[in-house]
Symmetry: C2
Amino acid sequence: MDIIEAILKRRSIRKFTPDPVSRDDLLTILDAGRWAPSGLNNQPWRFLIITGNDQRKDALQDCTKYAHIIRSASLLVAVFLDKKAKYHHVKDCQGAGACIQNMLLAIHGLNLGGVWLGEIINQEEKVHQVLGTDVQGLELMAVIAVGHPAGSGSSSRKELGELLLEPLNT
Amino acid sequence: MDIIEAILKRRSIRKFTPDPVSRDDLLTILDAGRWAPSGLNNQPWRFLIITGNDQRKDALQDCTKYAHIIRSASLLVAVFLDKKAKYHHVKDCQGAGACIQNMLLAIHGLNLGGVWLGEIINQEEKVHQVLGTDVQGLELMAVIAVGHPAGSGSSSRKELGELLLEPLNT
């Protein structure tokens, strides 16, 4: 799939078939995240993978109002920052965003579907409890829900003119 | 160019030929940024475009220790957050990261080169002065330097095993 087309056509997918995501596809998704840029190349992101068999998937549904998406997804990628690897809060959060976006684009490129669950970080402490992750050392950035799409997504964006601080003169 | 290949093969390019970036390519790059995901689809990013003819390009070099990259680039995209459009600092910074990464991938997909300049935000106030942008209303996220590559880039990443909080069991 062409890179420009993938960027422009990717949409959030919130409903999935029960089919599992293959190990090869999972490794491609994680490699995409791994190759994101970061300030000073500090690569502060850390991943926890939860599949359909994992009992923690049930408890994770109680951490978000998007429980139905967690339930439907055959694969979840929880993305954290390693606090020891951080060097600048804004730049590390931006890097996490680049990493998550790389994974979402790879998911789309593999003809899978995914959605960035951000609301769940409002319940970060509960997520750490449920996942058994290090509440002191790790900062939750997002959970990506992944699976084989059951339906298509739709969305819209502002016109470019609304985003430009000055008209283009080129 | 294939999306997965683009994600894995993109490298920062810090030296450019003097050739300008076409208007069509600029519009593609900005469209890529525009289509990034954001929390509640708030799209808080705003763009300021600086080309070779813009006198502000000279003054911008004094805002960063990477003056030589600014000088070499035929196109600069300054990315801000509109403070009125923000809703959650971490999620908005992540969204800016996704937006910047979309643009970097599009740049690579167009056979152009680019690099994410993050150090410049340490001199945010001076950047606002130089660009004449609204220091109260806009938060500087990064400047992307863009041009036709003069040479290739190289980089490395941690092994996946260093990033996984638990071994894969799938």
